[in-house]
Symmetry: C2
Subunit: 197 residues, 2 copies
Amino acid sequence: MKSVNIPAIAVQRLTLYARNLALLDQKGMEVVSSAGLADICGVNPAQIRKDLGYFGQFGIRGVGYYVKELAYEIRKILGLEKEWRLALVGVGNLGSALLRHAQFLDQSYTFVQVGQITVAPVKALKRLVKDKGVEIGVIAIGPRWAQQVADEFVGAGVRGILNFTPVQLRCPSDLHVENVDFTRMLDMLCYRLTLNQ
Amino acid sequence: MKSVNIPAIAVQRLTLYARNLALLDQKGMEVVSSAGLADICGVNPAQIRKDLGYFGQFGIRGVGYYVKELAYEIRKILGLEKEWRLALVGVGNLGSALLRHAQFLDQSYTFVQVGQITVAPVKALKRLVKDKGVEIGVIAIGPRWAQQVADEFVGAGVRGILNFTPVQLRCPSDLHVENVDFTRMLDMLCYRLTLNQ
DNA sequence: GTATGTGAAACCGTTCACAGCA
DNA sequence: TGCTGTGAACGGTTTCACATAC
């Protein structure tokens, strides 16, 4: 791994590459060039090579990349070899969908070893996180309670939070928070449609 | 509006400002400075002023911004004054959650006038889009069928697609697609947690 | 010959700093 | 005085172009 700072956006693209490499692998393709993968992913070939360059050299000049191998290397880079334990708060609404249809998760995460997802009444959270070694808290509850749940997750010792509410959470800076906010994406869509009449 | 190209990321932040302005308004605050809003949103004050500057002059020097007024102006910029009609494909899984718990949507969209959301068997899509004037298609179906549904939406004359599947959709360039991909956000989280041991 | 890996250049977005105005 | 609006400086990301290796 290089000592330069790796842009977060490059890491995000890595997940895109991993997904499409898995698809190529399923189709029996063994080798792919940066140009080929770039076309599928909708990015510039040089960008793929640059992104990969942050972490090492995975290709063969004059040939390309071995699909299986590159997919594995990216999974390793992203830390997806490990089994992550998640706790979900919010059994109603979005939460129940995430839980009840675990196959949805599995389908998109064939290459990820996601651990048990546990539903917990908020009060029992602290014990649960400590006993079960939960590392990631998922907040899929109404926006009104989002900050409170986040605080409890923090107090319980979770290291990261996946936030499905549109609330901007206030958390300690050493805690990692990722937001999935479809209302924002919908707003963006409306803006772009409005621009083009 | 300025004639320079407006970065998509600036527009995305506008939605963040709008949301927090609505909250400030609910709390009875009438005026806010770029510094005050920036603190709440977790961004740089100059960035807010710059973002707004793409669209006009909304503040008063030495004072700040009128909360209600700015919130309204941003809604207008984003095209959220209009009522948007959406069609949802995917009643199972994520889709049912989006539909059955409309109050979830309402809660986060108090300032948005989102139109009827219609569930349709895929075959009837074309007629539905044309008869009801649907402008945005929402794809919350299994990844396996995502591209097919997208193609049908395109054929039916939808102008934009909100894609909840992790599939990179292939669509005509004049169609607007926004992706909500929580698997990617989860991957990012895992990477960052792995970095810090 | 072909495709990677990577410095250099071009481009874009963010932040600074201050002029302009209430 | 205080805060907006904005040109300029800065920093970071993308793309180019070519040396390098198979």
